[in-house]
């Protein structure tokens, strides 16, 4: 658990940033108890800054960079805070990292990045990428991403990930040198093509279905939630008008004046309280969003498996047909219709020498194909094995996180209700004095 490791070293250094308890909570839910990486280092995304510079086509652009802080965990400490190592990264570099991980570990459900553009916003929140609230939530999301990767049993050991955290310069080049791009492009093409698998693995089919359902329901939920937030905002804010009118009215009243005036203040407080309430609700929305995007990652793994399975089937089919061809050549019988067969019937049989030559070539091809199939099969099996392990891990994580999210939501609602009771009790008191 990312936070349990930070709690162990809480004595040494406090990595809590601006985080609200709820945000901290989210980091707490990464229950992967101390991966080797996290045992060694603390990771955080401390700040965000605006930069302007020339881009690839030599045009001015404004972008945001995020400060990644890493700090060595030294158990033999003298109580001092070691200064963290820092480097700056843009969102696009995070994307590059993630794409690399996706290609290199196709069987892993790779943690998602926070959204590129603000989605599911309710009207008050800006959908502008430069908006400070959006930037702040993105900062938190990026930190969450890094912690997720760092707490993953497989991903945390990746060298490219490590250098992402530690090597500011030249990291991009190193990534490109791995040649993952080429793999990425070809795989992307294949994945997007439609293909049908003859013997689908039932477990993966079910998982894919589940990922679709999860995506669908979380996105609908997020949409409705945004609308509800909008409405709630309206309800609270209109109460502010009570405050103003009561105050104006109290000026002409003798006996009622004081009661009206003070009640008005409480109405103002009530109206103002919605801002905090909705900010906390955003945390809940962010948690849902993470799993919306996780669902996508899950689906991707299933798709990749499908692709592998498909390729295996194609290869196996190829082998079978080649074997058939050999048989036909060897026995001279034509089992299936083939142009060769037809032409040989029309234009006469081949000479035995020709047949020998063909058979030889075919034998080689068959051996090749057999090896290919064996290889592909092994690849498939390995994929399935590894993927299944990660699926289990993911499932546990998801159940834990989402349950925690629901609990946090309940806690938040309780707080909202308590505040409401307080405000209206105060208001009632003022009314009673009118």
């Amino acid at each position: 658990m990312a936070d349990s490791s930070s709690e162990e070293i809480a004595v040494i250094g406090n990595t809590d940033l601006t985080a609200a308890e709820l945000e901290n909570n989210r980091n707490n839910t990464m229950a992967e108890a101390g991966t080797a990486l996290l045992k060694r280092m603390e990771i955080s995304v401390a700040e965000a800054e605006k930069r302007t510079g020339k881009n690839a086509v030599n045009m001015q652009e404004t972008y945001t960079v995020y400060l990644i802080e890493t700090r060595a965990v030294d158990t033999a400490t003298d109580g001092q805070n070691p200064t963290p190592d820092t480097l700056w990264r843009r969102y696009s570099e995070f994307e590059l990292l993630r794409n690399y991980l996706l290609v290199t570990y196709p069987f892993i459900v790779v943690p998602p990045l926070p959204e590129k553009r603000a989605e599911f916003v309710w009207h008050k929140l800006s959908a502008d990428n430069m908006d400070p609230d959006f930037v702040e939530r993105r900062r938190a999301g990026l930190e969450n991403f890094l912690l997720r990767v760092a707490s993953h049993p497989v991903l945390s050991n990746d060298k490219i990930f490590y250098s992402f955290l530690t090597e500011e310069n030249g990291w991009k080049e190193v990534v490109f040198e791995t040649g993952f791009q080429a793999k990425a492009d070809s795989r992307l093409k294949a994945l997007n093509a439609t293909f049908r698998v003859k013997n689908p693995d039932k477990r993966f089919t079910e998982l894919k279905l589940y990922s679709d359902e999860l995506q669908s329901v979380t996105s609908q939920l997020l949409r409705v939630r945004a609308r509800v937030a909008d409405r709630l905002y309206g309800v609270y804010k209109v109460h502010g008008n009570y405050g103003r009118v009561f105050s104006e009215w109290s000026a002409i009243e003798r006996d009622m004046g004081d009661g009206l005036q003070s009640a008005g203040h409480h109405m103002d407080a009530y109206a103002a309280s919605v801002d905090d309430i909705l900010e906390e609700e955003e945390h809940y929305a962010d948690q849902l969003k993470e799993y919306l995007y996780y669902a996508e990652a899950l689906r991707t793994v299933c798709k990749k498996h499908e692709l592998l399975q498909y390729e295996l089937e194609v290869d196996a089919q190829d082998l079978t047909s080649k074997k058939q061809q050999r048989e036909e050549l060897a026995t001279g019988t034509v089992r299936t219709f083939s142009l060769k067969g037809m032409t040989s019937k029309l234009f006469g049989q081949e000479t035995p020498e020709q047949r020998e030559a063909k058979l030889k070539v075919l034998e080689e091809q068959i051996t090749e194909a057999e090896n290919l199939v064996i290889q592909k099969n092994a690849e498939c099996e390995e994929f399935v094995q590894k993927a299944w392990v990660d699926m289990e891990r993911f499932k546990e994580q998801k159940d834990r996180d989402l349950k925690e999210a629901l609990i946090s939501y309940a806690v938040m609602q309780i707080s909202v209700c308590k505040k409401g009771i307080q405000v209206w009790t105060n208001a009632k008191e003022c009314f009673s004095k009118m």
Binding site: R231, N241, Y242, W249
Partner: protein, 444 residues
């Protein structure tokens, strides 16, 4: 029998700037103000009952009794709306029940049925006889467009309550309750009432009043006593403020309703989701349940607003107009005196008779002024109590709402937390549990 009626809502001062766009109220002018509804196609069955339940809430009845328990000797209730269908119109009548020990009444219990135009007639008569007394307003003749439908049960119920209040305010009034017209209204059979209505000043007199009112605004009053100027200023501001509050309350109601509609959509989402999950299925169903219960509570909140606060505020919007009319009438009387006195100063002949006239008018004015002064105190007291009661009720309902929702979420939390502690020990659950410690004795 339609005269020029001053529409109480025509002058609603909607000048207050409210931050959120508010005014969507439009008046729906009916063809004939005597008829509540004009329908050639009368599809409602004769005498269909709308609401045969409690005439008034027990609470308000008790309040009535407690208030002037020793002195109160007349009790009026308005209930039992029924629709009536004839060849040309469909309208609604209400049962008016009177219980009294007053000697002027032959019997001690009366039951009659009255329709809106009867109430309207009564109000007119009372205002004519006592131009400077503050008569409680009637619910609006015209229907708010888009707010409520005419035959809608809620509308009828709201109107019934307002009519009930109207009669009770009159019954409570030391002077108005002694009015002969009032007595006839409460006791006469339908035909008797019709006959009585036709007698006495009516159309023409009201005409005269209005003409004089117009003339008075042209003439103006020269030496209005300070106290009435103060009241006028108060009324002007009060009218503005109460109109604003009315709009605010309506807006809150609208937003609340829309919130409820959207909130309702959350519950099926969670239920749907729970179908895809196994471990999470139960907590998700729990969430769905919580939201469902909160929706119900929000619905109650909405009801309270629309049945209680909104009508209460609206009544005082109408009161403000009544007050303005009362002040105008008082001014008219004074203007009359001033005008006649001026004439006296310029006239050489007929001075005696003119002086007599002026004396009478001055008596009338003094009487009117005193009546207003007395009633003004009374009105302010009633207003304070009514507004206070309306807002207290709203505050109480809101407290109740939040308390009920609190219970819902707390029990959900309890059910989820107990699962957690059973599942695994040593699982860290930092922030939420700190808060939970306050609420439930949870073993961590």
């Amino acid at each position: 029998m339609s005269g020029i009626i001053v529409d109480p809502t025509a002058e609603s001062a909607s000048t207050q700037e409210i931050t959120t766009d508010v005014s969507e109220r439009m008046l729906d002018l009916d063809e004939d103000d005597d008829l509540e509804v004009f329908s050639k196609d009368a599809t409602l069955a004769d005498g269909s009952l709308f609401n045969a339940s409690m005439p008034t809430s027990p609470a308000s009845m008790i309040n009535q009794f407690e208030e002037d328990a020793d002195e109160k000797d007349i009790f009026v209730t308005v209930d039992n709306p029924e629709s009536h269908v004839t060849a040309i119109e469909t309208f609604i009548t209400y049962r008016v029940l009177t219980k009294t020990t007053r000697s002027e009444f032959d019997s001690c219990e009366y039951e009659v049925r009255r329709r809106y135009q009867d109430f309207h007639w009564l109000k007119g008569r009372l205002e004519e006889a006592h131009p400077t007394l503050i008569v409680h307003p009637l619910p609006e003749k015209f229907v708010m467009k888009g707010m409520v439908e005419r035959f809608n049960e809620d509308f009828i119920e709201t109107r019934r309550k307002a009519l009930h209040r109207f009669l009770n305010r009159i019954a409570d009034h030391p002077i108005l309750s002694c009015s002969e017209d009032f007595k006839i209204f409460l006791t006469a059979e339908a035909s008797e009432l019709t006959t009585h209505k036709k007698q006495g000043p009516g159309f023409l007199s009201r005409m005269g009043d209005t003409v004089r009112a117009v003339a008075a605004t042209v003439r103006g009053v020269k030496n209005r006593p300070e106290e009435f100027t103060a009241i006028q200023e108060y009324v002007d501001t009060f009218s503005q403020k109460i109109n604003s509050l009315d709009k605010v309350a309506l807006r809150i109601l609208k937003e609340q309703k829309e919130y409820l509609e959207d909130l309702k959509e959350c519950e099926p989402m969670y239920t749907l989701w729970s179908g895809s999950e196994d471990e999470l299925a139960e907590p998700l169903r729990g969430m769905a349940g919580c939201i469902d219960r909160c929706c119900r509570e929000t619905g109650e909140q909405v009801n309270q607003l629309s049945e209680n606060l909104v009508p209460a505020l609206h009544e005082y919007v109408l009161c403000a107009e009544t007050l303005k009319a009362v002040l105008r009438r008082r001014d008219n009387i004074q203007a009359d005196v001033e005008a006649k006195s001026e004439t006296l100063a310029n006239k050489m002949t007929e001075r005696e008779s003119l002086k007599e006239e002026i004396d009478k008018l001055e008596d009338k004015m003094e009487f009117a002024n005193n009546a207003l002064k007395g009633d003004w105190e009374r009105w302010q007291k009633n207003m304070r109590e009514d507004i206070k009661a309306a807002f207290m009720c709203t505050a109480e309902k809101n407290i109740d709402y939040y308390e009920k929702c609190l219970a819902v979420w707390e029990s959900f939390l309890l059910s989820q937390r107990s699962d957690l502690t059973v599942e695994s020990s040593g699982e860290q659950d930092p922030a939420p549990q700190e808060i939970a410690k306050d609420e439930a004795p949870q073993a961590t």
